[in-house]
């Protein structure tokens, strides 16, 4: 079993791009070796995983804990627009909302990032200048990933050149599902290199991987390849983020850090629309990976409509009554 939980590994050095972290230095020597490694990871029992998230879903988060959770969730949002109809005007209005999510309340935290298609990264960068809010751009022929490697890498370089601080790439699910793990791995390594200083989020598109075993394998693959974050979904495939998938990914980043000393972030994206959903995710983080992941540096929500629900709940906690949709801004 490759499930290594040596606590002393926590103090080990972090890894650098291109060099695999220590206990796993030779697992990518061939596709067969890599396959053996990934298939040697402990299996995931679907029923048990579902039962665990159902149980954690009954946690009752009230008063001060709820206020903390809502503000933390707001600060973790990657405010996203990924439509064919996106325009510079739309991106600017989203950027304004990212800075001041609640125009009536300056104590409301800003979001973590604004997430757009690569061609609009420059517009977002300009609109967010000086705010500390990151620009995230999807790249690598998002959302399908069906293009040549040259095109994908050019897509990444373009977005980075336009000012993207974070790149959200998609893995080649076709290659993954046919067992060409090394191809998927090498592509992520190449994208990471093309990112330069930009942070890399690796989208697994778990709705297309389907099984939780595959989610665990893809998570380890992406972490070994140097991904800074592993992300559930593009938002274009249903189901997008689900709690069992998020549970398995949180277990993966927890075990990976225990084994290598390197911490990787998690980003569920798509389908998280309510404060209740967001709080359930934070409980899951808290009781699976632990408190170290409860910051925007290590956990994000890829969402658009979620933010308004968080704001409405935040107003409710402060004023004691629910307001309506006209008390928050339309995106």
């Amino acid at each position: 079993m490759t499930h290594v939980l040596d606590p002393s590994a926590l103090t080990g050095g972090g890894s650098l791009t291109g060099a695999l972290p220590d206990p796993f230095a030779d697992v990518t020597r061939s596709n067969d070796a890599f396959r053996a490694f990934l298939h040697g990871l402990p299996g995931v029992d679907q029923v048990g995983a579902q039962a665990r998230v159902t149980q954690l879903g009954t946690r009752s988060i009230k008063s001060t804990a709820k206020a903390w959770a809502i503000d933390t969730a707001i600060s973790m949002v990657d405010l996203t627009t990924l439509e064919g109809s996106d325009t510079p005007g739309k991106v600017r209005s989203l950027a304004a909302k990212a800075r001041r999510p609640d125009p009536e309340d300056p104590s409301c935290p800003a979001v973590a990032a604004v997430c757009v298609y690569g061609d609009l990264a420059g517009v977002a960068k300009e609109a967010l200048a000086g705010t500390g809010i990151n620009v995230a751009a999807v790249a690598t022929a998002f959302p399908s990933g069906r293009a040549s490697r040259e095109v994908k890498l050019a897509d990444v370089r373009d977005a980075v050149a336009d000012g993207a601080d974070e790149i959200d790439m998609v893995i080649d699910r076709g290659a993954f599902l046919t067992g060409r793990y090394l191809d998927v791995f090498e592509e992520i390594v190449a994208v990471k290199e093309a990112c330069g200083p930009a942070h890399l989020k690796v989208i697994l598109e778990t709705g297309e991987l389907v099984t939780l075993d595959a989610v665990r394998r893809a998570s380890w693959l992406a972490m070994l390849a140097g991904g800074d974050f592993i992300k559930t979904s593009t938002g274009k495939v249903s189901p997008a983020a689900t709690l069992p998938v998020c549970l398995v990914m949180l277990e993966a980043v927890r075990d990976f850090r225990a084994a290598t000393g390197r911490q990787v972030g998690v980003k569920p994206a798509g389908g998280i629309r309510t404060t209740k959903d967001a709080v359930k995710h934070l409980v899951l983080v808290n009781e699976t990976a632990g408190a170290d992941w409860l910051t925007p540096d290590w956990f994000r929500f890829g969402a658009s409509s979620l933010l308004n629900d968080l704001l409405l709940q935040r107003q409710k906690l402060r004023t004691g009554h629910y307001s309506g949709p006209d008390h928050v801004s339309v995106d």
């Binding site: 939980l5 048990g48 804990a65 903390w68 933390t72 009781e287 408190a291 409860l294």
Partner: protein, 479 residues
Amino acid sequence: MTMFEYAPAPESRSIVDIRPSYGLFVDGEFTDGTGTPLKTVNPATEEVLSEVAVGTDADVDRAVRAARRAFVKTWGPMRPADRGKYLFRIARLLQERAREFAVLETLDNGKPIRESRDVDVPLAAAHFFYHAGWADKLEHAGLGPAPRPLGVAGQVIPWNFPLLMLAWKVAPALATGNTVVLKPAETTPLTALLFAEVCQQADLPPGVVNIVTGAGETGRAVISHPDVDKVAFTGSTEVGRSIARAVAGTEKRLTLELGGKAANIVFDDAPVDQAVEGIVRGIFFNQGHVCCAGSRLLVQESVHDDVVAALQRRIGTLRVGDPMDKNTDLGAINSHAQLERIRELAAYGETEGATCWQPEGDLPDRGFWFKPTVFTDVSPAHRIARDEVFGPVLSVMTFRTPDEAVAKANNTTYGLSAGIWSEKGSRILQVTDQLRAGVVWANTFNEFDPTSPFGGYKQSGYGREGGRQGLAAYLRSDS
């Protein structure tokens, strides 16, 4: 960095109206008992909740007469479909009053409100629904062409699942046309008395269900009453043995559901994270006050260190404390006497050379508490590997091959349940076949359903409860 501290989320107790004192429920009415009343306390706070009547031989006699009358005059002759209607009505009332039952159960027993709300009460209602459906279909149960009820059932139940064990006993007895005299445990009588109110609310004919509270003497009177046709007991092996002796040589039919020392077997190809959840659920569910608790963890030696490390990390996240808080995972030990027994056996574990581990954290000042505890380096000869602790204490042992796992799992005087964790289906089937246990869970643990028969091998007792097999214990099929 700020921590995610969950604010207290206490369930309100205002939904229950606990009376200062309770009588016995005999012949459809609450009446005084002639024994010296006993006090029932909240084990989480040691607060006295109420005073409960104690039934003497004379009271038990009154209850058995009422049950006999109801059996002869109303319940026995009733159309089976009508009996089913009453059971459906009771099931619905349990659902309607679910919160009330859950809160009362947690107050009286000490178990977390999350468990009484999500497990005990819904399962109790499910048992009534399930058996209600059987009431008019008994001739199709494969128990003979025209199975007949036995008569009056004397039932004695334990304190670990007060309402659920009541449902396991009462629902099949009534569905098969018997009437009941039930004695709840002395430390947890309150939900049974609330159930008596439900019987009144359902217009159940007087005498069909009689509830006589009290301690050991009252229980003895119930099982040894000459006009009782059937005795059903769930509890300790020691008391079960004395009941078997008392019933021997009489016409009474007997089922016993006694102790256990279940093996939870984790193979090296197990789904580790779910196995860890299952180990936690196996031994810390209901503070380990579960006869089928997975109290012996058998781990394949090659993954022992990983599994124990993952288990300890997971136990570190268990929330121990106020059972009424909706976020509590581990509640109070049910009584001071039980706490003493757990302490005694845990002390044996250390003196016999096992390694004791407990998570950090404080326990409340008042009430009865015991930290979740894991013993490693346990040998099959140690007392903590053989005796039922009936508390949150896990004994970890190792094995090398499937044969060794089976041998060690079966090396117990009990045989109630077992668990297997493996991703390999063929291994699950092969090992299950060789385990001498009434229930074997694969990649899960402590999962219950009214359709599934439950019961033991060896000193875990005899007879089955639930499912088609459970009906047989309340029917005469020799006609």
